[in-house]
């Protein structure tokens, strides 16, 4: 250690007159894992995009092994030994691993690559770093964790010495995250340096050697991590500038009034395979029912059926006494159901529209956003100003296109829209994925506040910490079946076991 493989000095990047990076210094030592922390919109992705040649900095210099370099393109970054895994995978599902790696290499068209050589290299890397990827598998057959490893292979393909991972664990299950960390340790042992962006502080403490913290585009802290000494609170205080607490005040006593009742629900997914298998449960007024489960056990299909986006095979769904088994999304909307979808870019937001319009996607036809025949831009903008304020969406104006917001801030736009109204039923799917710790606290406190106000909340989450902080009852889903509905006092371990499909009899609440 001790020798810096990468130094970024005085990096600045402006979007309009807003500084996404303001004179940032960043130094990465050989063979270390370096955590890059900061609130949503702090400028982490921007800094790494500069390093990877995706953005041109407005100021500053990059040194690699002491030599100043200018990086114009990802291809050039890769030549310099830099690889990057973006949070949103850029894989083509209908193509094989090998083909995707070839696509991801940003190589010029000529000379043509030889697929068998690429395959060989994939196998080589796969073995060297215990990545366990089959070069001939189709992407669509792979789990999210495996897909990520394909991205990692692409990033490592050239003699990569610096690997950038932008929020890699946001989409992983806890087990997959553990596997990723094993891979990272192997990489470290081989002398590769890793930049790890994450909002999960316990992970950072577990794996990182050093951290750099950004706030509002500026460098606000650097520290070495000592697993024994460093506390989560220290890091979050550095990031947010205050202590963050997850002590929520829940009012006692949920009512017995059922908002949502699901009986014997069976649903097939698009491949015709059964995704939900005779699910039965209810959500009451003023409670948070958490659906705990490893991703891909039917949660997505459940949310889609409940919001009218998918046709159920059999079973019945009632909402406040109305049969909504066959209802359209529009009808369900009108029955006061709010929904925060899992995939914000595909089903939650119109990326090419501004914040104002995205905030009224569901109610722009209503007053005050439509006055007489016409839409009122003024009303939309005013409402948007308030939402930006309330949810601390980081932007300088409400006419910013959503695609130009940072990931966490995009998520906040959806939350602001769906939580603005007073729904009877609130369905939220991974609401704090990608959010910084301050925003996470805020969102969870809102979920509790809604619950206290009598809203029935259905919370789908893979984050057990989130579930145990907020839920009144926990439904564990496994293979589309209800493994059991339990009270939080059965403990994390028990729920974790149930999520893995292990039954131990009893367990009912």
């Amino acid at each position: 250690m001790g020798e810096a493989i990468l130094q970024m000095k005085g990096i600045s990047k402006f979007f309009g007159d807003m500084a996404a990076n303001d004179n940032v210094n960043f130094s990465l030592e050989k063979g270390t894992v370096h955590g890059l922390l900061g609130e949503n919109g702090a400028g982490k992705t921007t800094l790494m995009n500069v390093l990877f040649g995706l953005l041109k900095p407005d100021g500053g210099t990059i040194f690699i092994e002491g030599n100043p370099v200018t990086i114009h393109s990802p291809a050039q970054a890769m030549e310099l030994g830099i690889g990057m895994v973006h949070q949103h995978f850029m894989l083509v599902p209908t193509m094989t691993v090998t083909e995707n790696v070839m696509l991801g290499l940003h190589l010029p068209k000529f000379p043509l690559l030889n697929p068998s050589l690429v395959k060989q290299r994939i196998n080589e890397l796969s073995q060297q770093f215990a990545l366990d990827v089959d070069p001939d598998a189709l992407i669509s057959q792979l789990s999210v964790g495996q897909q990520q490893r394909v991205e990692i292979i692409t990033a490592l393909y050239h003699e990569t010495t610096i690997l950038i991972l932008d929020e890699p664990t946001a989409v992983l299950t806890p087990d997959e995250a553990k596997e990723l960390f094993v891979i990272l340790r192997t990489l470290k042992a081989h002398g590769t340096s890793v930049v790890l962006i994450s909002h999960k502080l316990e992970e950072i403490i577990a794996i990182a050697d050093e951290v750099t913290v950004l706030r509002n585009g500026e460098l606000v802290g650097f520290t070495k991590i000592d697993k024994e000494v460093t506390r989560k609170e220290d890091l979050s205080a550095m990031m947010v500038g205050r202590e963050v607490s997850f002590d929520f005040k829940k009012q006692k006593g949920t009512s017995m009034h059922e908002v949502l009742s699901v009986r014997e629900l069976c649903v097939n997914n698009e491949r015709g395979v059964q995704a939900l298998d005779h699910m039965t449960f209810t959500v009451r007024r003023g409670e948070i029912l958490a659906i705990a489960g490893v991703d891909g056990n039917g949660q997505k299909e459940l949310c889609e059926v409940l919001t009218g986006l998918r046709q159920p095979g059999s079973g019945a769904i009632t909402l406040n006494g109305n049969d909504i088994t066959q209802a359209s999304p529009k009808q369900i909307n009108e029955l006061n159901v709010a929904y925060v979808p899992e995939d914000r870019q595909k089903s939650g937001l119109i990326m090419d529209w501004d914040i104002s319009k995205n905030l009224v996607l569901k109610n722009f036809r209503k007053k005050p956003f439509t006055k007489g025949l016409f839409l009122s831009k003024k009303e939309m903008d005013e409402a948007a100003e308030q939402a930006v304020e309330a949810f601390k969406i980081k932007t300088d104006q409400v006419s910013t296109l959503v695609k130009n917001l940072s990931g966490g801030n995009q998520q906040k736009v959806i939350l602001a829209r769906e939580l603005a109204t007073d729904p009877d039923l609130l369905i939220v799917s991974h609401p704090t994925r990608g959010l910084d710790i301050g925003a996470m606290e805020y969102v969870r406190s809102i979920l509790i506040a809604k619950r206290n106000a009598g809203v029935g909340v259905l919370l789908v989450s893979a984050d057990l910490e989130e579930i145990f902080q907020t839920a009144d009852r926990i439904l564990v889903i496994y293979n589309g079946r209800v493994m059991g509905i339990v009270n939080p006092d059965v403990g994390i371990q028990k729920v974790g076991q149930m999520m893995a499909g292990i039954t131990t009899g009893e367990a009912h609440a």
Binding site: N49, L54, H86, H88, K346, S347, G348, T370, F374
Partner: protein
């Protein structure tokens, strides 16, 4: 708030710029082609310009031609905004014209009534025709490029059959055309000695109406479906219904263009009435960036090319096909421009993590 206003104004120019550049590039390339062919570019362009705007008559002709192009393009833009590729402007125009002429030559009513009735009939025919196309798309998932294209042939043959058969003017000496619409129903001429007629105002009203329409919730809905069907659906929008409505509206504009031309210049049906209007309208809609005002201007531009091209051929001896070349080049540059823009926005936003 000041910030917002500036941003909007800037957006306006940003939107205009690609179209202007496309036109400019097309002219530059044309200059080279002219030089290669041994023609004088100066003569060509001055003649082209003079031919389109040089005297009141030519100017009026430019506007006469611009009317149907603009109105069909308005319709095209409606569909394009919803990512529905309605390329059947010709057939929808023809349907409007057939209905308009039929009402006028077969019904024996006072002129004012005929005028209004033929308007309503053309509008209704357009809406129904468009709904049919929309239903095929929404319910049967039939590709609208194919259906609208096929209907261009079907309607063109229908028109032929009508003017050679059932609707042929019995006193017309066997010419393949219908009887004339009564003079009293026709649009008045705006300038003596020219063909410019009051239908121009109808076209202007349509431009304004569409401009206003984009500010209504229904207009936003169409845009939303164009941007993302899945988001629209999740937001409680009936996507199928929106598709049908969009196609109906789109075809209605083209049908009204047929009505305006029938009552403004043709006065009767003839074989091959629409010519190349439909395809020109597509380019005009794209060059106008699907914006009503932009479309009005680019319609005038294209119409000027066509009118001026004739003069150029006659006086400078430069073949009219040059106009076709300019048109083609504009199309190419408009398309390149949008591809470039998409690539550019990918680079800006797409690679942006989360």
């Amino acid at each position: 708030m000041r910030n917002l206003v500036i941003k909007q104004a800037r957006l306006g120019i940003q939107n205009l710029l690609p179209s202007l550049i496309s036109v400019l590039l097309a002219c530059v390339v044309t200059t080279f082609i002219l030089l290669l062919g041994g023609y004088s570019p100066v003569a060509a362009f001055t003649n082209l310009f003079a031919g389109a705007f040089g005297n009141p008559y030519r100017l009026s002709e430019t506007f006469v031609k611009a009317i149907p192009i603009a109105v069909i393009a308005l319709g095209t833009s409606v569909a394009f905004r919803a990512q529905l590729w309605n390329i059947g402007g010709n057939s929808q125009y023809t349907v409007g014209a057939i209905v308009a002429v039929a009402v006028n030559i077969y019904l024996d009513l006072p002129p004012l009534l005929l005028f209004l009735l033929s308007f309503l009939a053309a509008l209704l025919a357009g809406l129904l025709f468009g709904s049919l196309l929309g239903l095929m798309k929404a319910k049967l998932n039939a590709n609208e490029v194919i259906t609208t294209l096929m209907f261009d042939y079907i309607v063109a043959f229908l028109l032929s059959w009508l003017v050679y058969g059932p609707m042929m003017d019995p006193e017309g000496g066997g010419f393949p055309q219908t009887a004339l619409i009564p003079d009293a129903v026709m649009f008045h001429k705006l300038l003596a000695g020219t063909r410019l007629h009051t239908g121009l105002f109808v076209a202007l009203v349509l431009v304004i109406l569409l401009y206003l329409f984009w500010k209504t919730p229904q207009g936003l809905t169409i845009n939303m479906v164009g941007h993302s069907k899945s988001v629209a659906k999740a937001s409680g929008i009936n996507v199928s219904k929106t598709i049908v409505f969009t196609m109906a509206l789109s075809a209605a504009f083209a049908a009204l263009a047929g009505w305006i031309d029938a009552l403004g210049i043709h006065g009767r049906l003839q074989d091959n009435l629409p010519g190349t209007l439909g395809s020109v309208a597509i380019v005009v809609a794209l060059l106008g960036r699907l914006h009503p005002i932009g479309i009005a201007f680019s319609a005038i531009f294209f119409s000027a090319l066509m009118v001026g091209g004739n003069t150029m051929q006659r006086f400078a001896g430069i073949p009219f096909s040059l106009v076709t070349i300019i048109q083609g080049l504009v199309i190419i540059f408009v398309i390149c421009g949008s591809v470039f823009e998409i690539a550019h926005s990918r680079k800006q936003g797409g690679s942006h993590d989360a």
